[in-house]
Symmetry: none
Subunit: 214 residues, 2 copies
DNA sequence: CGGGAATGTCAATACAAATGTAAATGCAAT
DNA sequence: ATTGCATTTACATTTGTATTGACATTCCCG
């Protein structure tokens, strides 16, 4: 994605969209200037910014027609793939994207995994084998600070290393349930658990498969 | 390669690469500082260290653009991703790549999956849940006409639909072993089984994960 | 067609916020 | 002691956004 818009530019883009939809074409610089309470030259600058960032296009030098490029079009042919970071440890500090430990990145099928800001986590231990999640698997996660009953989440227990478990909310506690008879569910107080994300996919590479054959 | 970098600097370099690839350009010092949980001046020092050691270059004195120069980049010229076909049915006719049934394709991380002519197969049934392979998973396969004991393979049983099982060779038979106590191993004559490939990876998407949450 | 009104462009300028630089300093490990 | 890595603080530069005014182009109506 091209460099993102500043808040101001986003406002302006929103305004432009609205006007074009309403009137069929873009307003003049001075008209827009009146609407927005700024000067016409400022509008011209904003418009140029949008143009440089690929959100709009104009014809000739003095043309008064503006085309907005829709975001899907902007990427010129949807990417078939995407890359997300593999975080090693997720320290307790929020927000999520602070203090991350970069372990690298992994490429995913973009049509399979939607959503913003996905990240991946290397699964340690065999507490979730019952749900088909093995030691060494890569868990693809969608960042979230809450969870619903039964969802498989990655959570921080008291600021420790992150773990993957099934989530259940009780009246006065949170229960994290492993998916392996060798382990037992554990209950925690609300202040002991920090949900970091929901597991929406699993990637198992040749290394893990090879170990299975051991 | 010459790791004349300290571990810290290597971390930072890795972080830089990820960010540049993700956002198209280097983050600001203070943004990086937030991400890494250190002060902006510390980032500037790290950056200067990388510059002095020849891993990065910047333009002017106050420029915000950073170029990474070290060719040690794993993915320098190489594609970071690859696309392989998802075959629906594998017909008995050999060679493998004739007469396939195209169900689409899937994108994989090229650094994770090596090898030529990989293909993927949608797993049906729950006979392999014990090995962490669930109904609906995508099995990434390496084409092979043979197999070793204990390997998880995709095989054709008497020209029927392909199945995924663990492979064992007996003196006078082939045993295909499910990984689920509800099923039993089955023995076949040599002429009843056609090994089509070895499973080297698993892809589980949001759809399957969602079903897990019931 | 011609001319005025509306519109787009450019240049100089201002200011705040974000960003990069530098200096002084502390601490731990070699 | 030196080096790597961190801090804090002060300062310089760039960028985004705004201004104003002069000028060029286009549109439209008489």
């Amino acid at each position: 994605m091209p460099p993102d818009l500043t808040p101001r530019q986003e406002d302006f883009l929103r305004y432009l969209r609205e006007e074009i939809r309403r009137a069929g074409r873009a307003p003049s610089l001075r008209r827009a200037a009146r609407d927005l309470g700024i000067s016409h030259a400022a509008v011209a600058q904003l418009l140029r910014a949008l143009e440089e960032k690929g959100y709009a296009r104009r014809q000739g030098r003095y043309s008064r027609t503006v085309h907005l490029l829709n975001p899907a079009r902007r990427t010129a042919g949807l990417q078939r793939w995407r890359e997300i970071p593999v975080v090693g440890r997720i320290t307790a500090g929020l927000p999520m994207y602070a203090q991350q430990q970069w372990e690298g990145s992994v490429v995913l099928d973009a049509e399979l995994y939607r959503g913003e800001n996905l990240f991946a986590l290397r699964v340690r231990g065999d507490s979730m084998t019952g749900a088909g999640i093995l030691d060494g698997d890569l868990a693809v996660c969608q960042p979230r600070q809450y969870a619903c009953n039964g969802e498989i989440v990655v959570a921080l227990i008291g600021g420790e290393e992150a773990t993957v478990k099934r989530f259940f909310l009780g009246g006065d506690h949170i229960e994290l349930r492993p998916e392996n008879p060798a382990y037992r569910p554990v209950r925690y107080g609300f202040d002991e658990i920090l949900v970091q994300g929901r597991v929406i996919g699993i990637q198992r590479g040749p290394d893990v498969m090879r170990r299975l054959e051991g």
